[in-house]
Symmetry: C2
Subunit: 427 residues, 2 copies
């Protein structure tokens, strides 16, 4: 098989004609398929149905420490739920604050607090001349939206299979005191599914920032979200690595159970040094009396220990894995060897990342949409929504029922081919 | 009976001796009673126990509009819960955003957003020379803490039985463009239990602010929290009053079900004009994907309609009323006619407000604490925690079981007498 790039113009024209016919047929199906967001499917949500009946009477609404979870109090979370978080990301439970339902809100809050009141007593960002963030990309669009909303200058850092380009990260962080943070999804990164190498994690822990209020914003969103029982990524635990490196306050780690139990109705948490947490708790006393402890208690009782968490996550994997594999199979079948795209093969998380020929991503997403397949907007995986190469597309196969990702992937591959052919013909 | 002020020195000394003996006996009881915070009692929390079993299977987790409440989406709340809020405060449901568990967080967020991004596009408060807030006092300490945290200058406005001194409010609001807001608890105010008169509400709606980004922060925390079936306060609905007065964007109304169902595990909401909500929704898209819709659905199904809400609140009243009446009876018995204190007799809400002889509040709270009775810190009901007259004390009888408020009130009255005697003797 020849790559598109090496095909003759005549061959490309023939290919184009055939593809256009297929596209016409696909459009005629009037499909409405969505692979745009990392939403769990109904089948996955059903796995947590028993959690809804975990309280059998009001006497059960007192936690192990004797706290009545129906009343105000325990601002930074009940101890049972701190222990749950401790099991999820291997940090001591005293390094945990449990929040409400969304880690995105906790991250927004961290940036907002730094903007209004500064990091641990340093000058608030709103009073600083310039604030910059490093943004490994492709990355999570909602991270970039937060920093953009606060007028923070975003610097794109290229991603590698081992994590962000650490030479570049070290250079920026150590040389520029305006650089105040970096967004990281260390495990099964969004959207590539890459796992930071041990070396990358240790280099993060050993950073020597020019700015004393620099922090690593470590979004461990997919900490236990493996697709394979026998091929599970593990990364060094960042808090202890930072401590070992003599930088205990360097990192804020975020997580939630949104993709463990119910999306948007889970519990979110922050793990950090005592020093960081003490400062944050001062703000919390102004902001809230307490979060929803009944939901915290429900989660602690349902997810229990490492063994039950693992068993639960493997049920998720059994639902997700076939969808990922089906999409990857189709990409292989339809696109392998054509030289018009590369893609990742994640072992966990919620996404597959696809890199099209430069300048084609927007057109592909548009074409797919016309044929009833909604993908994440092209560019979304880059700061300011601008992919400089117009190449990256995020594929989210989790939400639709099993047949749909297959159908959607076929149409996606068709659109990739069609747009690529047009691209080469126009050159 | 003579007032303390008109007693001879000899009589005061005899009184002091007797009171000191009583105080000694009280201390010997080693009590540990708490009337410091507006927390519901276990008995009240039990009223909402059936809510925990309201979901009998996962098929029930879809709302009336067909939304799966277990998944992401419906950022500004499910329609069923907006309708619930609509019933609580008589606003159209399209004027409602339903949030997470705490109205305090929604209020913090409103101030924080105004500080970082401004009100509806006006210059962010962090970029303005000076920002001032009017603070009717005595008032809610947590309101004042938020504005203090953001470095906002607080101006105390005296409270009357009809609400804040409106002549003063109108003067400040119309003359000073640095005045950006006022904290209000319009119904059963914290701590006095005062209800704004119709005239006060209409004067609020008709305010003509010098600052275009002035808003009324209307914390309708006790909207349905009556103590008496046959003596229920009603106030004009503020959103429609503002609209009638040609100021539709003037008010942000906050509420929660924390003192209807579970404290800290209820749902919070904001009611405002479409214009205001549209601006706020823009921030929300950065801040969250959605709030806990399962909790929203649970509340909508449990509290249902106006009739069921009213019946539920009357059960709360039946538990709260005897505690309020017991405390008030003791204040009457022990302090009436002595000229050493005045107090309010609320028809709803969570507090009784006590005004001691000037310069005595701190000493009374301290003395009560020594005898095992914890009251809200003196001064807390004023901006910056400083009561210029050192006179106001907030009494919160809701939390302890029935016998305790009686015992606590007796010790409180004893401390009032003892401190007042000492005060007069020292003059």
């Amino acid at each position: 098989m020849k790559t598109y790039q090496t095909m003759t113009r005549a061959a490309l024209l023939r290919e184009k004609e055939a593809l256009e016919q297929q596209y016409k047929e696909a459009k005629a199906l009037n499909l409405n398929l969505n692979m745009s967001r990392g939403k769990p499917s109904s089948e996955q949500l059903n796995l947590s149905a028993p959690m809804m009946n975990i309280f059998n009477g009001y006497s059960n609404l007192v936690d192990a420490a004797g706290v009545d979870c129906r009343n105000y109090g325990e601002m930074d979370g009940i101890s049972e739920c701190k222990e749950l978080v401790s099991r999820l990301v291997d940090v001591p439970s005293e390094n945990v604050i449990v929040y409400g339902n969304a880690s995105l809100t906790v991250m927004y809050d961290a940036i907002s607090r730094s903007y209004t009141h500064g990091v641990n007593g340093y000058t608030p960002w709103c009073r600083q001349e310039q604030v910059k963030f490093l943004c490994p990309a492709p990355g999570y669009d909602r991270h970039f939206k937060i920093t953009e909303y606060f007028g923070i200058d975003m610097i794109t850092i290229p991603m590698t299979e081992d994590g962000p380009d650490m030479d570049l990260v070290e250079k920026y962080v150590s040389e520029d005191p305006a650089v105040k943070g970096i967004w990281c999804v260390p495990k099964y990164s969004n959207p590539q599914g890459y796992v930071y190498s041990d070396d990358t994690v240790r280099r993060f822990a050993a950073l020597e920032p020019a700015a004393p209020d620099f922090r690593i914003y470590w979004d461990n969103a997919y900490c236990v979200h493996h697709l394979y029982e026998d091929d599970q990524a593990e990364i060094p635990e960042i808090l202890s690595e930072c401590e070992k490196a003599g930088n205990p306050d360097l990192v804020l780690e975020f997580l939630s159970t949104s993709k463990i139990t119910f999306a948007g109705a889970g519990v979110a948490a922050l793990a950090a040094s005592k020093n960081n947490l003490d400062y944050i708790r001062k703000q919390m006393t102004i902001q809230t009396i307490s979060h929803d402890k009944l939901n915290q208690l429900k989660h602690a009782r349902f997810l229990k220990d490492k063994k039950t968490i693992h068993a639960h996550m493997m049920k998720h994997a059994d639902i997700l894995r076939p969808k990922f594999e089906a999409v990857l199979d189709i990409l292989d079948e339809e696109l392998y060897g054509l030289g018009i795209g590369t893609w990742t093969t994640p072992k966990g998380g919620y996404f597959i990342s696809f890199d099209a020929v430069e300048g084609c991503a927007k057109a592909i997403v548009e074409k797919a949409k016309e044929a009833g397949v909604i993908l994440t907007e092209a560019g979304a995986t880059y700061p300011y929504g601008i992919d400089p190469k117009d190449s990256n597309i995020r594929i989210a196969p989790s939400l639709p029922p099993m047949e749909e990702p297959v159908q959607a992937a076929k149409i996606f591959a068709l659109c990739v081919k069609l747009v690529s052919v047009e691209k080469y013909l126009s050159e």
